[in-house]
Symmetry: C3
Subunit: 198 residues, 3 copies
C-alpha cells in the first residue's frame, strides 16, 4: 500500500522506471527498516524474508501500469494509504512491545514504522515532508492510534482486538482528516505544481 | 538546547504542532542516534533512558509557548545552541574514546554527535544544510573542539578539565564566528523568505 | 573517486571548505556505511580502518586544489565516477554474498553500496537525487552489473573474472548511457543554475 503511494509520488516527479521502483521500496520498507536498526533487531525484516521486496516491486509495477492506462481513483488510493498506515503503525508498536520497552518508545516505534517511509519519500523528492505540514494529521493519527492500542491492552481487551481497534483508530483519524478537509488529501491531482527537474 | 533550535526552525516552516515536536526530537537526538548506530552501541541512548524524549518534548513545548507570546531573544537562543553543540560534541567524542577508537574516529564521532542533528533538521525542511554553507563555522567548531579535547588529554591535563576546555573551545569558536560576523546567526528573523508549503 | 564527485558537487553549491570535505566523505562512505548497518556488519568499514577517511579527505583536497587552478576535464571525472560505481557495486555485492544472502539482497546491497552515497550527496544539497531522474542509468547500471556478476558465478566462471566482468558491465553501461546521450553527464558545467543559498 505504501509501495503504491511511493510509486505515484515518484511518477509525478518524472523519475525513470527504476527511480519509481526505488522510491516505492524506500516508502514501503523505510519505516520498518529504521525501526529494526534503532532496536538492533537483525536481520532486518526484508533481509530475513525478501518476499517483501518482490511484493513491493510487483505493487509498484502494477500501479505504474494502471496509471498509464487511466487516472487512478484517488479515493481508493487514500484508502490503501490509510490502511497501510494503520497496519504498519500497530505492527511496529507490537515489535517494540515484545522487546519490553516503555510505552513512549512503543508509541514512537509505531509512529516511525507507520510514517517514516513517507518522510523518506518526501526527502528523496526534495520536498518538505507532508508529515510535517499543517493539517495532515498523518503522524498524529499514528501516534494516537499506537497510544490507544496500549490503552486497550491496559484495560485487558483481548490482544487481537487491541491491534484491530488500534489500527481502526489510525485509519479513522486519517479518514476524518480527509473527509472534513482538516487535511489536504495525500494524493493530489497530478496537475499540481511540481518542480519538474530537467 | 538543540530541541529549542529544532522547534524554532520548524515554526518558521509553518509545520503543525506535531511537526514541530518531530523536528525538535530529530534535531536533539539525531546526532547521538547516528553515533550509536555507527558504533553498534545498543540500546540507543534514548531507548535506554526515555527521559531524554520527555525533556526534549517539554523544551519544544515551552519554546512554542514562549514564541507565541513574544519574540525570542536571539542572543539567548544562540547561546543555548552553542552550549548544546559544545556539550554534545565532547560527550560524543568521549563515547568513541571509551571504545578505544583512533583519534580521527573520536573527532568525527564528536562532530557527528554535535552537528548531525542540525543537518537532519535542515534536510527535513528541504533546505541546504546550514552546516555546509559558507561562513558558519558550525562543524568546524565541533571538529576543532573535539581535536583540542584530545590534545588536552595528550598533555595529561585532568580529564574533567579536558572535557570542559574542549567544550569551551567549541562554544568560543561559535561565539567568535557570530560576534565578528564570520557567520550568519543560526536563528535569523522569522520574516526571512520561507518557502511556505501549501 | 566518489570523493572527487562529492567534492565537485559541493563546490558548485558554494559550501565552505569543511562543507566540501563533509560532502566528499558522505558521498564516498555513505553507501558502504548503509550496507554495513543494514547487514549488522560491525565495526563499520571506515571505523575498522580509518585509512579510508584519510584517503578520501586527501582526494577531496586535491580535487579542490585542482579545480582552483583549472577547469576539471569532465571526461576524466566521468571515468573516475564510473570506475568507482563499478568497483563499489561489486564489492558490496560480494559482502552480501559472503553472508549467504539470497540473490535479490546481494544485488540490492551492490546497488546500495555503489549508488547510495551519491543519493545522500544530493539530499544534502537539497536536490532531487540524480539517481532517480530520467535518463541517467546510474542505479540501473549498478543493478544490472550486480545481477550479471551473479550470472557469471552461476555459470562457474572463475571468481576474480566474475568480479572484473561485473564491474565492467556497470562501467560499460554508464559509458554507453553517457556516449549515446541516453543520459545527461553527471558532472555538468559549473555554470548550471544552482540555487546559491545566501
Amino acid at each position: 500500500m505504501c509501495a503504491i503511494s511511493g510509486a505515484l509520488s515518484a511518477g509525478r516527479k518524472s523519475f525513470d522506471l527504476l527511480g519509481v521502483a526505488i522510491v516505492a521500496l524506500v516508502t514501503a520498507i523505510g519505516g520498518g527498516t529504521l525501526r529494526d536498526v534503532l532496536l538492533d533487531r537483525y536481520p532486518i525484516f526484508w533481509i530475513a524474508d525478501p518476499t517483501y521486496l518482490l511484493v513491493i516491486l510487483a505493487s509498484a509495477a502494477l500501479t505504474v501500469l494502471y496509471v498509464r492506462f487511466r487516472d487512478p481513483p484517488y479515493r481508493a488510493l487514500l484508502i490503501a494509504d490509510a490502511l497501510g498506515l494503520g497496519f504498519f503503525t500497530i505492527s511496529g508498536a507490537q515489535v517494540a512491545e515484545s522487546k519490553g520497552l516503555p510505552a513512549i518508545i512503543v508509541i514512537l516505534m509505531g509512529a516511525i514504522t507507520g510514517a517514516a517511509g513517507g518522510l523518506f519519500r518526501d526527502v528523496l523528492s526534495a520536498e518538505v515532508p507532508l508529515l510535517l505540514r499543517k493539517g495532515e494529521l498523518y503522524a498524529t493519527a499514528a501516534i494516537i492510534g499506537a497510544a490507544m492500542y496500549l490503552v486497550f491492552e491496559a484495560i485487558h481487551l483481548p490482544r487481537p482486538l487491541c491491534a484491530t481497534l488500534g489500527a481502526a483508530v489510525v485509519i479513522g483519524l486519517r479518514f476524518a482528516a480527509i473527509r472534513w478537509r482538516i487535511a489536504l488529501p495525500v494524493f493530489r491531482a497530478p496537475g499540481e505544481e511540481d518542480s519538474r527537474a530537467d
